[in-house]
Amino acid sequence: MSSPIDTLVNREYQYGFVTEVQSDTLAPGLNEDVIRLISSKKQEPEWLLDWRLKAYRRWLTMTEPHWGNVKFDPIDYQAQRYYSAPTSVKPKQSLDEVDPELLDTYKKLGISLTEQKLLAGVAVDAVFDSVSVGTTMKEELSRYGIIFCSFNEAVHNHPDLVQKYLGSVVPYSDNFFAALNSAVFGDGSFCYVPKGVHCPIELSTYFRINAAETGQFERTLIVADEGSYVSYLEGCTAPKRSTHQLHAAIVEIVALDNAQVKYSTVQNWYAGDKDGRGGIFNFVTKRAKAFANAKVSWTQVETGSAITWKYPSVILQGDNSTGEFYSVAVTNHKQQADTGTKMIHRGRNTKSTIISKGISAGDSQNSYRGRVQVLPRAEGARNYTQCDSMLIGNRCGAHTFPYIEVANNSSTTEHEASTSKIGEDQIFYCKARGLNAEHAISLIVSGFCKEVFKELPMEFALEAQALLGITLEGSVG
């Protein structure tokens, strides 16, 4: 097994270009004045500034977490820039006024903001460094009463909703990176689906890091009111740079009684080169709270980032609520991933399902870390967990750290995990049927991940399969 895979594995990261735009960028460093400046640039109300400052002061008392199964040198938080925005973006402009350079960037990424309105199906909020560039299909959505806009706009136009739900799932004191994000977050997306509304199209946020030495700290808040439904997609890319860049985001989801939220991510941040130079540190806090009869489903395909530290979780607060986590995490070269989920069963008859597929190749390390917690009140709670790892090559590692904590005897929890090598007999069989090694591997890997891919919206599923192929290129040989 050799050259075709080599070429496949060593394929270049195709989103690594840099957009030349005039930017309003803060000097590196972090202190209260920087936070005040970010807040004033966004013309934020007093309460939000106070909240940021509280988060900052809390952050100062916290230490960088190193309990994950990932190794990185301590980050110099004073060497980072905490705000960068293309000067051409003015608040509340319509899409027609957006800088053509920026639109072009998204076009290259396959996200055409202007044409988007013609393609039925997806509404996009595009975030470029610290600001939202534009949101499509807003009028269409507003007919249903759905609010979908940049976070900053929501702060100005829907302050009551933001104030009510901001930090209600991920408090600013939650963890080191969440506190940092709460202090310095740039922009992000906000979505509110009113009672009983089934959102007719997929909503999507596309995050792009462009500026150098800049961290990206975006924040997404999704509120699904009683009986509503929304499916949300998230994509992300960054230029190739030889230094690490920090991405510390927060996604908060509130699913009120009987609501359903489906959140899908294809994470394709720049992963660094094959020797581990550069790449994004993806330290993300994602959490949902599901009230009575609500259902929250996380689906993620993690292929990028030098280091991933991410545990999309569901607090099953209400009775009969459901949480799901479907994940494919692929690492190659020197990538490190420590990812998984937390399912906190608080309500009665709550259900959770965890399906995690880890694939490690090259010199990478891939860890699943999950916590299933059944609290004493959670009568009849049910959990099923399956995490499988596949190893391609003999220099990589696959690790599993499940924490199962059960304090109610009427609950049932089941956990299964397996780790194995990619099947040589399977590859041989495929080759005997005329497939080359590269196709054989891609077929086997797709089969391995099928349970997760089938949860993805269609366009995403195709993209995910293609990405998987690229990430694994050159991993067998």
Partner: protein, 435 residues
Amino acid sequence: MSAALAKYAEAFAAAEAAPGSPAWLAELRKAAHAEFNSIGFPTTRNENWHYTSVTPIAERTFRPLKGAQSSAAIGGLIERAVGDASWARAVFLNGQFEPSHSSLASLGRGVRVSTLTAALAEQPDFVSAHLGKLAAWNAQAFTAFNTAFVQDGLVVRVARGVKAEMPLHVLHLVDKQAAGCMIHPRLLVVLEPSAELTVVESYISERGVEYFTNGVGEATLGDGARFYHCKVQRESREAFHVGTLQATQGRDSLFHSFSYASGGALSRTNTYTRLAGQGAEVRLNGLYLIDGAQHADHQTIVEHIAPGCASRELYKGILDGESHGVFNGKVYVEPEAQQTDGKQTNHALLLSPTARVDTKPQLEIFADDVKCTHGATVGRLDDIALFYLKSRGMGADHARAVLTYAFAAEVLETVELDELRDGLEKIAFERFTRA
């Protein structure tokens, strides 16, 4: 230094002044004591102790036991041990060897058993070559604690190709004299290539005695050696127990460990092995039955170092009352350990609504040609199975007892020694069928 550590330092200084032990051992104790002081008792922030708080141990100060007498209680305690009277026997009462109740001669030629004290006098080079070489007294607080305060123990050596003629039963008995005291027993087993030995360790104490047992064992398995180890911990419900067994295995060796735990207010059993020779196999099994406010924790670490080794683990727990069970199994597969075959299973049965289980089966794999799986379940008795038995005319209580016993029996069946297996099955059956 905490108040408790300061007390232990005083006790250590007093013991150190007493003459008798060779210089190398004094050095080892001293180094271990320094480690113990610097590590201190683990907190729940320590990942290895995440679910077990040792505060009840740390907040008490246990005294070293001095001048205890042989007592009339000993006969009754020996009676309670599960096993066969014909086995070779080493009896320790409150940590002190009881030669009059022990019989070590019958193990046959090539099997040398002696107390640690005797071995230090008779075969000092052998002891110094092995004692403290496997157990991580420089990393684990309780192992350091034991190494600093070790009084006596057992040293077993089986010569090349020799199969011990019968099992060796080590009885750790405790009576009222030990109230408020700590006992640090030690076990050292060296099996030369192709040797075979079975050791049963029984921990039994008088009811109501509060004390602390902190045992450490080290077992070296030569190529092709077979070591069967059963630990039966049925100490008083006021007792505290920490036991660590560290093994290292040569090529094609077999290590089978079984742990039965039903005693103690708080107990922790560590079973660790290094599969250092190609084709070695380990089977770690365990059953814990707890109720009331008991806490039982099992930790296993299997390090696959050489290629082609197999590990099998099955641990089960049955919890009633407000008891708390913990299982943490770690399997490491080093880059060289290709063709590793690892399987780890952990099931817990919760009989009461207030019992609690925390389990963490973990895999860390650095080699690709491996087959490793683990599974864990937590739940209560199957309603459908109960219904079935009831529909066949069985009373609800009896049906529950039968199903609970059946759950335990699966793992009890892995005990090779007939007398021990039958004895434990009987205890378990009586436990679940008592009115």
